[in-house]
């Protein structure tokens, strides 16, 4: 069935930025241009017209970092609920991390995830496979098989690869498949069981701190290994000024590195932890105002390519504990877009650059043929009302979990319609 999205402002980064219609047929983008009409021979009820006047029409958003929790932690999230949250937040493609139970370190888990995603019928799901078996950091997982099964990158996620030789070998091996290698940069010895940023607030609250150096030293190591191996390195959820500086320098020297940050790391600081707020507990932790400024500068000058959510659902009983016992992470899929648009209001990013960091840039980082409205591309489209003001109410999330520090925030910019492969999968109206 054909869909004609009329009268919106189309932003297809690097291609289109202005008023245009978008015509979709057979699950593909047929055309983007002025005064488009439904395809000939398809009149009447077989063509849906979406009135997008006053709205933004964007490529479906691409999230390189989500935790869908299935298999193993279905009480927190399932592939069905996680992808429902994705499309409600404007994301039509999500890359799910391998820290499930069992770990996604083999073909059968990857296939299970893809099967569940197909059955859910919401967003496209691109699994990320483990670097090492069981994410134990000892033996390489069968990376070739993971790639063949559908994995688009490899990562040991929250278990950073401690052994530098294993990391070197993983990066070298991944070159054979041109797969990006993702690392959660944290020196676990230096972090020493910390549960928030080491700084004034940790000193006041008596909580064990994680110094920013715990991230910085691993970023430095990984950049050195990327230079050595020429592998594609993707740095997950950077949180420190030091990381931004090092990535900037590495890029200027031609190292193949892409970097992501999460909306919470540019929207909040360690101050949010006061009162032992477990919804402000994540890893890497919320840092300082200076770090937030450095991240914004990194976004502005292109050092940071991608905004990703690190969507990490946890059940109420998981977070309703004393701070140290509560697990790390927050849900992010249904708040990322307005928090990113706030950077446009603030003058950090142009609207087109902000959209690129949620679409074309993440697609490029992982080599996904997504994040574009080019004719012939899969018809993944999101229609956004940029002027809609709303209040974040976790009770209305599609996600199974409610763990967000943004409850009650008044935000601007709302997803109206999400289309995946030519099919409307979310409609706020």
């Amino acid at each position: 069935m054909a869909i004609l999205i009329k009268g919106g402002q189309v932003i297809d980064p690097g291609r289109v930025n202005g008023p245009a219609d978008v015509l979709i047929d057979n699950g593909k983008i047929l055309a983007v241009g002025q005064n488009l009409a439904p395809p000939a021979g398809k009149p009447g009820p077989s063509a849906t017209i979406i009135d997008a006047r006053g709205k933004l029409v964007l490529p479906g958003l691409v999230d390189l970092h989500v935790h869908l929790r299935e298999p193993g932690f279905e009480y927190k999230e399932t592939i069905q609920t996680g992808t429902a949250a994705a499309v409600a937040g404007g994301f039509t493609s999500v890359c799910c991390m391998p820290n499930t139970s069992p770990v996604n370190d083999n073909q059968s888990i990857t296939e299970f995830i893809l099967e569940q995603a197909r059955a859910a019928g919401n967003a496209h799901v691109f699994p990320v496979g483990a670097i090492t078996k069981g994410s134990e950091g000892k033996e390489l997982a069968e990376i070739g098989e993971l790639r063949d099964a559908g994995c688009v990158a490899i990562s040991d996620d929250g278990q950073p690869v401690v052994n530098s030789l294993i990391m070197r070998r993983a990066m070298e091996y991944a070159l054979a498949f041109d797969l990006p290698v993702i690392d959660h940069c944290e020196d676990l010895q230096l972090a020493e069981g910390g549960c928030m940023n080491e700084g004034l607030v940790s000193t006041q609250l008596g909580l064990p701190g994680i110094p920013s150096a715990a991230e910085d030293v691993m970023v430095a190591r990984n950049l050195a290994l990327a230079e050595l191996t020429k592998a594609r390195l993707h740095l997950a959820h950077l949180s420190t000024a030091g990381s931004v500086r090092m990535v900037r320098a590495a890029k200027s020297r031609g190292i193949r590195v892409t970097a992501e940050v999460c909306p919470h790391h540019f929207s909040l600081t360690e101050e949010a932890v006061r009162g032992f707020n477990t919804h402000a507990k994540m890893n890497p932790p919320l840092r300082t105002w200076q770090d937030v400024q450095a991240i914004k500068e990194g976004l502005r000058d292109g050092t940071i390519d991608v905004i990703a959510t690190d969507h990490a659902p946890h059940a109420v009983q998981d977070k309703q504990q004393q701070f140290a016992a509560a697990p790390n992470g927050i849900v992010g899929l249904e708040t990322a877009l307005p928090l990113t648009l706030a950077l446009v209001e603030e003058g950090v990013l142009s609207l087109e650059a902000a959209v690129a960091k949620l679409t074309a840039e993440p697609a490029r980082a992982f080599g996904l043929s997504k994040g574009s409205l080019a004719p012939g591309a899969d018809a993944d489209v999101v229609v956004v009302d940029p002027e809609a003001h709303w209040e974040v109410d976790p009770a209305r999330f599609r996600s199974k979990s409610r763990n967000t520090p943004f409850a009650g925030w008044k935000v601007k910019g709302r997803v109206i319609t999400t289309i995946v492969a030519g099919r409307v999968v979310y409609d706020a109206a």
Partner: protein
């Protein structure tokens, strides 16, 4: 005047007036412990539960005595004998205790923030008897009570706090309390034991004990957690003791008549020479005695009995 709060979870959340009120209330209870019949009926019919997730002898005993001298019923609940080992969360454990009509829960827990988390989750009053490295408010209050009893005035009082500040809830609570009351705080220890931005909490940082002790009115020693040696905070007990141990010679660097304090239990010969612990300057046993009075005062104020 009364304490208009359900819980006592931190010194940081108290006003100077509230601190003064607690000290004055404890004054009136100190005399009870000196009577032949050490009991008043103030909390008759109330139930106090000591919920201790960490081993403790003196704090638990002190709370127990305080509650009993106020005629409350006291239950001691420790995790080894409970369902905590079966995976029950802190909040569920506490709600079960609350369902048995506990009026006041006294919580000791290894995690910072446990008391605050508990206080927001139950209707019973919660008293923090130590949470991780965060706070130990009743210890700081009994320390203040002891200084005040020795006729010290907090305004401009020079207090050296010596030892592992980073991992000490006693140090944090005392720093918060003393800075609220206008004292001059000197935090002393090896840099490995000084948390970041400590100066912004109102304490001046010293690495040299001799320099820090010059002219102070109070020397507050912290207990060295001997098991921390494996974590590269200090090279050996021998060197720690040589650099940061309180000797009689070092006491002489302080003001004449300066008080020597310690929250106990003392590692004799490590952070404090035995002759100092037993000297006339030492008020360590006064601190223990005053702990009961302070806890009686707090239990009384939170019970709404006044």
């Amino acid at each position: 005047m009364s304490l208009k709060r359900k819980d006592l979870v931190s010194i940081a959340s108290l006003t100077p007036d509230e601190i003064t009120l607690i000290l004055e209330t404890a004054d009136s209870f100190k005399e009870v412990s000196g009577r032949e019949i050490k009991k008043v009926p103030a909390l008759r019919g109330k139930t106090v539960v000591n919920l201790f997730f960490e081993p403790s002898t003196r704090t638990r005993t002190s709370f127990e005595l305080a509650a009993k001298r106020l005629s409350a019923d006291v239950i001691n609940f420790s995790p080894s004998s409970s369902s905590v080992v079966k995976g029950e969360t802190l909040l569920d454990t506490a709600r079960n205790i609350e369902a048995m009509q506990a009026d006041i829960i006294v919580l000791r827990h290894p995690d910072a923030g446990a008391a605050e988390t508990l206080a927001t989750g139950v209707k019973s009053s919660v008293i923090n008897a130590g949470d991780g490295w965060h706070e130990h408010p009743t210890q700081a209050l009994l320390d203040l009570f002891t200084m005040r009893e020795k006729n010290l005035n907090f305004k401009g009082l020079r207090v050296a706090i010596v030892g592992d500040i980073a991992h000490s809830r006693v140090a944090r609570s005392n720093i918060f309390a003393l800075s609220k009351l206008g004292a001059e705080i000197r935090a002393v220890g090896p840099p490995t034991m000084i948390p970041v931005h400590l100066d912004r909490l109102g304490a001046r940082v010293y690495y040299d004990l001799n320099e820090a002790l010059r002219g102070v009115d109070v020397i507050m020693m912290l207990r060295l957690q001997l098991e921390r040696q494996g974590r590269a905070l200090f090279p050996s007990i021998r060197e720690y003791s040589r650099l940061y141990g309180l000797t009689a010679e070092r006491v002489r660097l302080a003001e004449a008549g300066a008080l020597v304090m310690h929250p106990g239990p003392v590692n004799r010969g490590v952070e404090m020479a035995p002759e100092v612990a037993d000297s006339f300057s030492s008020v360590i046993l006064d601190q223990v005695a005053n702990g009961v009075a302070i806890r009686m005062g707090i239990l009384y104020l939170l019970s709404g009995a006044n």
